[in-house]
Amino acid sequence: MAIGHYIKFIVFGLLMGYIVARIGFADYSEVHRLFTLTDYRMLITFIAAVLVAMVGFIVFAHGKKLQKKPLHKGTIIGGVMFGTGWAVTGACPSIAVIQLGYGYMPAVITVLGILLGSWLYRIVHRRWFNWDTGACDS
């Protein structure tokens, strides 16, 4: 059982790293062009991905109960913080690791920052916030 989990995550990790890097998310300049709206390729790619996933979920997840993503007080503030971080470092939680794999060594520091941020958030959340973030195992 556990080994099955490992194999699945290894295969999907490799796939994800490959796909995301080939789309160009690991390239800071490419991401910057996406956000300054000077090159629409990645934006169109992303919209296409969401549409494909939408069709996939409609076909395969019909009538099944999936994780809900409710709107809560932290959604917008968290999103704004994340957006700032993404624009500055060119990374999101998965891209930081992929950048590192792609050869951009300073991404190690981004990874450290992410670890620090998520660790601190757990503490802050337990102490002051009490909303449901929609994560199913917390």
Partner: protein, 420 residues
Amino acid sequence: MDNETRERPRNCMSLPGRTGLHLVLLLAVSLVFVGDSLAASKRWWAAAVRDSGQPRPTLYLEQHGIASMLEAKNSDRAVFEKLVMIAERGDATAKYVVAIAYLSGVGISQNRVSARRWLGRSADQGNARAREVLDGDMPYPHVFVDDPSITPQVSATASAESPQEIAPVPEPVPAPTSKLNRKSDTTTSQAASDDLVTVLLNAVMQPADSHFWVWWLGGLSLGLFTVGFWVVTGNTLGVSSSWDRIVSYREDRKLQAASKMLASASDADIERAMMEATLAEFGDDLPEEFREQAARISQQQTRATPRQSREQRAPYGAHVMFLLCMAIGGTIAAYTVGDLEIRMDMGKDFIRFFGDGPGSWVVLLVGGFLIGFGTRMGGGCTSGHALSGCSRLQVGSLVATASFFGMAILVSLLLDSMFG
């Protein structure tokens, strides 16, 4: 009977159906495009630079302004002329690359005499590879023969020698005839003056010199991946939750121990323990009948029926492996496009904004912190919200995606205007 009623509907997870296999197959098929058919002239130049013995070809191309020329979709001819200029200033690498271009007929018509001359000049400056090629009497095409996707455009006689001529480097359309080729050379901000139709067309029609996947290939792979992940693992894709798991190592151990205990204990044991805990907490506040019931339960004999373990959570180590393998996937991608090199900077645009010294590391740390904190606060990241949330039209995800995309656009435009 008792067990059946206790079997609640799974609230977060959903088991994969057999149909999932089909989806995974589809995903695999879409990845057959791995050696993508789009030949890249950028890759050709980078390969030629690497072949000269230059350890960091991408950086070399950037430093000499060739990378930006290629990004601006200049023709191979223009790149060739630029390289001749650099070579005449005394750069041994450029001399070698010019020679290879002459040998291969890229950017200039094939000319072995000129190639020999440039090779000689490069070798005189101590370029070992140039000497090697000269001494080997310039075997054609010696550089990239094992990679069909970057076989250079060759003359008829040469292509007879190389049977793998599948994808010759497409010569970009000459500048005056094509409006599409108009893109700013130096920075991206100028391109904003292009009208929307041009920019959109540019995005849809993959330029020949791009490292990256054309939009439909990327979209198809990423979309299928998102669904495939859910079908196979039973969890919706969300990378920031993996980070969350990783930082909560201690709690994870506690939870594991608890679930192990629960799995081994019988139902009655658990019920009794819960009752006792309730009594201890509320004591006399509880109604009489509850306390009677509690007393009855605590006297019951323990049934020796261990509970069935319903382990659904992926183990801690799997999440670590997930992130590690993501990095390896990135390395594989970099290797397949011939762009793999260890760099101590984050690319030219990042350098333009923040430099590449310790100051930029602080920026990265703070940025990383914002990413970690923000994604957990918002309940997900790009993969969790934008990909697997928006595709199911979850309200929270739509709002979150709008806010982080919007903010990223604002900050990027701000960066451009500040450091442009």
